[in-house]
């Protein structure tokens, strides 16, 4: 990373036809939490182009192992064991090195470890539900967990979330900040979910569905899912001093 030119370009404009709009009445909570006035557009300044750096040294040994990072010594979380791996890329297709990827999820029964959670499925005493990893030089990351269960939620009287893992991704600039969710190939609940349905474009939804990746499985241990995440790309600053107002 140190041999590369510092990145100082503005990020590509966000495609707001592709991203979910703020007001999505099928997801009821959005109704009173959605701005109604037009956003003010501003080409990135230093305040958006820059961002903090997270070093690998901040990570603990078990941060990327949700099966064990909350478990008692010698025990492990209950559920189908999986590896989730992939790359953080930008819109140019380049790997984003040093990206902080933080994940959280329900346990195998679909229950979160949270005081506001009331689903009747039991807590797993050995499962906390959080993990984090920092991407390698080519943008790749990997963590180990258990496959979360689907769960019901108060929206319609009988809405169920598909099994999912929440992802928070921190790239190189504050304007790249993104939170999303990973879904699992073949889950019939994906296409019934009002939160998924906030995304207007079917291809954009499919971009959040991780594929079963048999090549990355560990025999007799864990299946694997591959999930790539794309952050906003940056404009090149190569000619910025010469081409006024291009």
């Amino acid at each position: 990373m140190s041999n590369e030119r510092p990145e100082t370009g503005a990020f590509f404009q966000r495609d707001r036809q592709w991203q979910p709009p703020a007001y999505t009445p099928g997801y009821k909570t959005s109704v009173v939490r959605s701005p109604q006035k037009a956003l003010i557009s501003l080409d990135n300044t230093l305040s958006e182009i820059t961002g903090p750096v997270f070093g690998h040294s901040m990570l603990g040994a078990l941060d990327a192992d949700l099966i064990h990072n909350f478990a008692k010594a010698g025990e492990s979380a209950i559920g189908p064991r999986i590896i989730v791996h992939g790359r953080v890329l930008d819109e140019r297709g380049k790997g984003v090195a040093g990206a902080l990827v933080e994940v959280w999820q329900a346990n195998a029964g679909g229950r979160y470890r949270h005081k506001k959670e009331s689903y009747l499925a039991p807590l797993d005493p050995n499962f906390g539900g959080c993990g984090r990893v920092i991407t390698d030089a080519d943008g790749s990351y990997c963590f180990r967990t258990i496959q979360p269960g689907p769960y019901p939620w108060p929206n319609g009287v009988n809405d169920w979330r598909p099994a999912h893992i929440h992802f928070s991704v921190f790239g190189h600039g504050f304007a790249q900040r993104l939170i999303t969710q990973m879904y699992f190939e073949g889950d019939p609940l994906i296409w019934r979910c009002p939160i998924v349905a906030t995304i207007p474009d079917r291809a954009a939804v499919e971009g959040l569905v991780a594929a079963l990746d048999m090549q990355a499985t560990i025999p007799m241990d864990a299946r694997a899912y591959k999930f790539d995440i794309v952050l906003r790309g940056r404009r090149s600053t190569l000619f910025e001093n010469r081409l006024e107002g291009n």
């Binding site: 495609d15 592709w18 997801y27 939490r33 958006e48 909350f70 929440h166 928070s168 939160i195 995304i199």
Partner: protein, 204 residues
Amino acid sequence: MVQPLNRLKESASQTAGPYVHIGLTPNFCGIEGVYADDLGAAMVNDKTRGERITVRARVIDGTGTPLKDALIEIWQADAAGLYNSPSELRGAADPNFAGWGRLASDMETGLFEFSTIKPGRVPFKDGRLMAPHITFWIVARGINLGLHTRMYFSDEQDANAEDPLLQRVEHKNRVPTLIAPRDGDVYTFDIHLQGEKETIFLDI
């Protein structure tokens, strides 16, 4: 036919949901022993340069109710106006100030209290100085795509008057939604998601 551009599309955003704390502030919500500290919880130490301030924020929905399940990240320059980032080419920022903070709102009151320093001025693209400001990113249940805005300082009237972003706001009666009033060391920033007082949000 032409050659394909081979650009990728940004991954679609999804709401942070009501349990964002588990992932981003686990110690705050009682999941202890996984990470030593919640990232971004402490922004300053004894050696940080600059004027100590508190930023007291709330995020308020269209019914006037403060959100009790929101999460805010802030990003700001140091006291000299330098960002602690590899993309900052003008100089080295204060090594005792990362410039980044993250908090969940208090689950009873909806209040956020960031202990930080007042940032210096940072240049706009054309070299004019922007007024001191803190960049905000807000996520919560019911917010499908994180919201970007900025907080400016009420005691920086001259700088605010020449700030390139504030100047470009057409409806001047909305500018005060970005300016936090000062009381002692405390700046209060109420972020209104909707309604008469809707905060200016940015597409940046």
